[in-house]
Symmetry: D2
Subunit: 134 residues, 4 copies
């Protein structure tokens, strides 16, 4: 449950296509859930690495753009994304959590990780982002 | 057109979901095409960074797994993926090209880039992969 | 002070050149200290980014090679290193801490960060490594 | 030999400590040479990964800061650095080449690689940088 449920936006197209939900968006944390389903499978029948990258990039980008307001939004573009693939899911839901760890008024740094509901650490990431001009 | 058209596999689920095609898979190069469509859009209406990551990861993974044979396939898992986002597409198709640049019999290194049909350089990547045991 | 002081090795040449010390090496954590001095300065008179990369790579590599024994050592090679530069030091000592976060018997994943003695977060990193054959 | 030898600066402290030379700095390319010597050795007696990171970061940073003038310099800070370690040197000199591949007036993207004089590809990198305010 989001601490600021009123700022959770309507899913955008790619979010809708993959089926993930932004369940928490606070100054400290972004949390995203994605129930696994067959359409996310790669050549080996396990979730494609692009799925993880999508969730991690999203969690980090939102983490740097929190304002707490629907009118006064902040926007950012990813400059660089690094993803490490540690394990494959044992459960049925990917849970990505992201947080901003530094930066200024032009660029920011963030980290994120993906676990499943069993706690298995599946992927980690870091990223650099730049704010879009208002 | 693929130099080895007979080894191009049936699209797997996530490939089908996004709509990309592996149009070339040779010892030197993998090329993937993705016609842009609305369902790939992010919060700002441009292709989500996860789309780029998906194409780049795929192009690099395939680049390290070429065997030229449908019976004797090779499989790999991504260890680490680094993506740089340089520009946004001016055209209507994302064209990813990947190639293996080093490694041994356990791990390999690859690079890839995405341009559109106008030649605009949109994203670059590098990755480390490990071969799956037979 | 190291929990396992007896396994702290004699500084190797590059370690001696830069002047860093491995002050802790346990199953959970590696900690490295580097007193800042002029010879580490870049074109702008602040520590060169290669200094941070050196400490982070070292902290992560050692973190994956702990055995607790001087006779039975483990060795690893870096496959991929990602470093994010968040801030510049306000204090006089770089303090790098690294830990292993996953992997198997062939490869491992690690994370590290650098703070100074004021607590300022200066750089973060992740890396993938492969174990050298015995 | 540099195309613009007059803009090659006096080595800064860390450059002097490691012993590398910027031998070319043009709008298209930066080339750096480092004769290998014992003081660069790691725990295994081969060049420490931090040495490669230093050269790659330097080559990329300079690549984005070319102005062709000694009076009107441009300065940049590394945001993110990704290094892949492909092989170890067979020769006696590390040769790093870097080039800018994109960006705008606030941030830029660059790539670099290290070979030795035998042509062996030893390491590759990409990085994101931000320009320092004048």
């Amino acid at each position: 449950m989001a601490t600021y449920p009123e700022i959770i936006e309507t899913p955008y197209p790619f979010q809708h296509l993959l089926g993930f939900q932004i369940v928490e968006w606070t100054p400290e944390l972004v949390e995203i859930h994605l129930p696994l389903h067959e359409a996310l499978g790669n050549r080996y029948g396990i979730p494609h690495g692009g799925v993880h990258a999508t969730l991690l990039d999203t969690a980090m980008g939102f983490a740097g753009c929190f304002t707490g307001s629907q009118e006064n939004t902040r926007q950012a573009m990813t400059l660089s994304l690094n993803v490490n693939y540690l394990s494959r899911p044992k459960g049925e839901t990917l849970i990505a959590t992201g947080r901003k760890i530094g930066g200024g008024n032009r660029t920011f740094f963030a980290e994120a990780e993906i676990r499943d509901e069993t706690g298995e650490l599946i992927a980690t990431s870091s990223g650099t982002f730049r704010y879009r001009s208002a």
